[in-house]
């Protein structure tokens, strides 16, 4: 079953614009249980239909939760309203909130982080691809479903497209995934890599983890400290941006080189010292993991993990 999601996940989608509708159709096709939509003034009336699937649409999260017992929210609301949507989910005590939205102002995220303190909610994102768990066919995000395969390797990444890249390599190398989590590329996010690693460490369905970081911030150092202190499962790591020119911003607001600690070299060194296996090339993440699993006697040929 692995972390964060399972086959009892009851998904609520907030933001049924064009993109939200496209994405939720793909999640329904993948097999995800979607129980409610929230979209004030939804033009489609009070239900959303896709093939044989149907779920009710409510104007507020609190109403949706009380009527459907939704326990996970996916937010596709555009940036100006995204923080408001997250706050609404925290107020409604939704246990797991995933926010896909890119471009949320950082001051809004300061308010969100304050509201998360002491709340009953956990947040993944924003500016992330979401979470996918192949064994329970649960897709809470924007992933291309075809590249994923059930298995025993967890993936955690700041970048969305690098989740797909790494997973594609894993799948080609005959390695399935337990859960894949994109934590998001912004300066302020909900759970960081370190928190996800802790979840994988205590998850019986995960035998090893791919960690994908990038230049900027100190999150990889925090992850390295956790690996050194508590992680017994093997970790294969790649840090993007080793060749980025210093001082230039590379799209992710979080990816600004701050002094020495933000550089790829500093992060690679911290992770190496913590015992992680470094894949220097982003094209070798899959083959490196295959070697690590075989050495640890944890390689499971495809099909060995049952579908839930």
């Amino acid at each position: 079953m692995s972390i964060l999601l399972n086959n009892r996940t009851r998904l609520l989608i907030q933001g049924l614009g064009n993109e939200g509708q496209n994405q939720i159709r793909r999640s329904l096709d993948y097999g995800t249980t979607v129980v409610a939509g929230v979209h004030p003034g939804f033009r489609g009336g009070d239900t959303f239909n896709h093939g044989s699937h149907e779920f009710p649409v409510y104007p507020t999260v609190v109403e949706a939760v009380s009527k459907t017992r939704a326990n996970c929210s996916i937010i596709y609301v555009p940036a100006p309203g995204a923080a408001d949507a997250i706050l609404e989910n925290i107020a409604a005590e939704v246990p797991l909130i995933v926010c896909i939205t890119e471009g949320v102002p950082v001051h809004d995220m300061i308010r969100v982080r304050t509201a998360l303190e002491g709340s009953k909610s956990r947040l993944i994102g924003p500016n992330c691809p979401g979470i996918i768990q192949p064994a329970s066919q649960c897709r809470v995000g924007i992933h291309p479903p075809d590249v994923f395969m059930p298995g025993n390797v967890g993936v955690v990444s700041r970048s969305g497209t690098l989740v797909y890249e790494a997973v594609d390599q894993l799948t080609r190398a005959g390695i399935g995934q337990s859960t894949c989590v994109g934590v998001g590329g912004d300066p302020i996010i909900g759970e960081q890599q370190q928190a996800i690693l802790r979840r994988f460490q205590s998850d019986p369905d995960t035998d090893a983890v791919v960690l994908i970081g990038e230049i900027g911030g100190l999150a990889e150092q925090a992850a390295a400290a956790y690996i050194k202190r508590s992680m017994t499962k093997p970790v294969v790591a790649f840090i993007a941006g080793a060749t980025a020119p210093p001082g230039r911003r590379m799209g992710h607001a979080g990816a600004i080189i701050e002094g020495e600690a933000g550089t790829a070299e500093a992060k690679i060194k911290a992770l190496e010292e913590a015992g992680a296996v470094i894949s220097r090339s982003p094209a070798e993440i899959g083959s490196t993991m295959r070697r690590v699993l075989e050495e640890a006697g944890k390689y499971q040929p495809p099909g060995a993990v049952e579908q839930a």
């Binding site: 471009g103 102002p105 300061i110 691809p129 969305g160 690098l162 590329g185 302020i188 590379m250 982003p282």
Partner: protein
């Protein structure tokens, strides 16, 4: 986005932060009028967004490249001065005529400011800030920024101002105070006074310093800033506090509620190609030094693509994250910018569709090849959402393109094409 020092000081002033008398000028008559009003002893400061201004040099455009090389090779011997022969971006002057002598080369249309951060072309100078000199008793450092890891604002302050705070942090970390801010409480004046006291500011100036810190925090909030920095603020010999420098960086993501920050934006300080990319709405573009033009979706994959090219011995000509592409004309616009870059010898398109659909990207590539008459070798790697359709579109179009399914193979093809030039442009992978 950064704003100019003079703009930061206008915002400071409107928020009750004391700044020196003076203002920005762009022509000689304005300068003369201002100098008569605030003279005779003044500071003349070139207004540019680039860092390293004081130690940078104001030079003629045709000397920019040479001076940049000297600055990189031997900063001690070639860096700009505040007084003396080598004109830096910040100059002291006494009297109207002396001040105009500093003003003229800065405002000359042919001038550039070159610093270790500007690159060999330097940057144009947008305006000149002329201010009264202050009698400085002590220099301090103050900044507010976002601490991502803790998700709250962080104030950094030091009694060792007027120099690089990174340097102070290296040599004397205990001199750097870090004050996390509770976002609910904000940073009221009493917290400011307590910080002023820890900095050793004399009792008589503590109230003014406390107010200044509280007001700088309000600037941070009101502007949706990612950084507000004053290095230095000073205690004058008259015993008052004064922000004699000012830097404000704003959060582009908050532009929607600040009228796009148009009031503060200066496009002359930005790379023209980067502006073109923004106006065409094709995501995030940064010009680099190599010859492989890259079109990638996602910042992480874009960086990883550059990493892979370099591991194979290639050099990217740019970073381009086209974001989520669900319209083929955006692919054409992205490729137009890449093709118009004279450095580009090969084009590498690497798209892993999630939200983006790669069949639409493929249609855009075909349109671009036909519309733009692309002559450079083209390497395309598609994967993810609707990949089968995408590959079919490319194949059926008959355009000259090399393809590979995996990142490493595709990067190798791109590097090989860049190294062997145009001769291979008709080969099909």
């Amino acid at each position: 986005m950064n704003i100019h020092e003079y703009q930061a000081k206008q915002i400071f002033k409107a928020h009750g932060v004391p700044v020196p008398d003076g203002g920005p000028v762009t022509d000689e008559r304005e300068a003369r009028d201002l100098l008569k009003e605030i003279g005779p002893d003044v500071v003349v400061k070139a207004q540019v967004h680039a860092g390293g201004r004081g130690k940078g040099r104001v030079v003629k455009r045709d000397r920019a490249g040479r001076v940049y090389a000297e600055l990189i090779a031997d900063p001690e011997k070639s860096e700009g001065q505040i007084v003396g022969r080598r004109r830096g971006g910040v100059r002291l002057a006494s009297g109207v005529e002396e001040a105009l002598k500093e003003f003229r080369p800065m405002m000359d249309k042919d001038s550039r400011l070159v610093s270790v951060q500007t690159g060999a072309d330097g940057v144009p100078i947008s305006a000149v800030l002329i201010e009264q000199q202050s009698s400085i008793a002590h220099e301090y450092y103050f900044s507010v920024q976002v601490d991502g890891a803790n998700g709250q604002p962080l104030i950094i302050a030091s009694a060792e101002g007027g120099q690089s705070i990174e340097e102070v942090n290296r040599t004397n970390p205990r001199a750097v105070l870090r004050v996390p801010v509770d976002p609910v409480e904000g940073f009221p004046a009493f917290r400011g006074r307590s910080l002023a006291s820890r900095l050793g500011i004399p009792t008589s100036a503590i109230r003014a310093a406390g107010d200044m810190f509280a007001n700088l925090y309000r600037v941070f909030i009101d502007m949706d800033a990612s950084l507000v920095e004053v290095n230095p603020f000073v205690l004058t010999s008259e015993g008052t506090v004064l922000a004699i420098d000012g830097k404000v960086g704003v959060d582009d993501n908050a532009a929607f509620r600040h009228g796009g920050y148009e009031e503060w934006r200066d496009r002359s300080q930005e790379n023209p190609v980067e502006i073109e990319a923004e106006e065409a709405n094709i995501g995030s573009y940064i010009k680099l030094d190599g010859n492989i033009g890259c079109v990638v979706n996602g910042a992480g994959l874009a960086m990883a693509t550059m990493d892979t090219l370099m591991l194979h011995g290639g050099e990217p000509a740019n970073f381009l994250d086209i974001g989520t592409v669900n319209r083929k004309d955006r692919v054409v616009e992205a490729l137009r910018i890449i093709v118009n870059d004279p450095d580009v010898k090969t084009i590498f398109i690497n798209i892993f569709g999630g939200l983006a659909r790669v069949d639409i990207v493929a249609e855009g590539v075909v349109d671009a090849v036909n519309e733009l008459k692309i002559t450079q070798p083209l390497v395309v790697r598609l994967n993810g959402s609707n990949v089968e359709e995408g590959r079919r579109v490319l194949h059926d179009s008959g355009i000259a393109v090399q393809t590979a399914d995996e990142l490493g193979d595709a990067a190798a093809l791109a590097v090989e094409a860049a190294q062997s030039g145009r001769r291979r442009s008709r080969s099909d992978g």
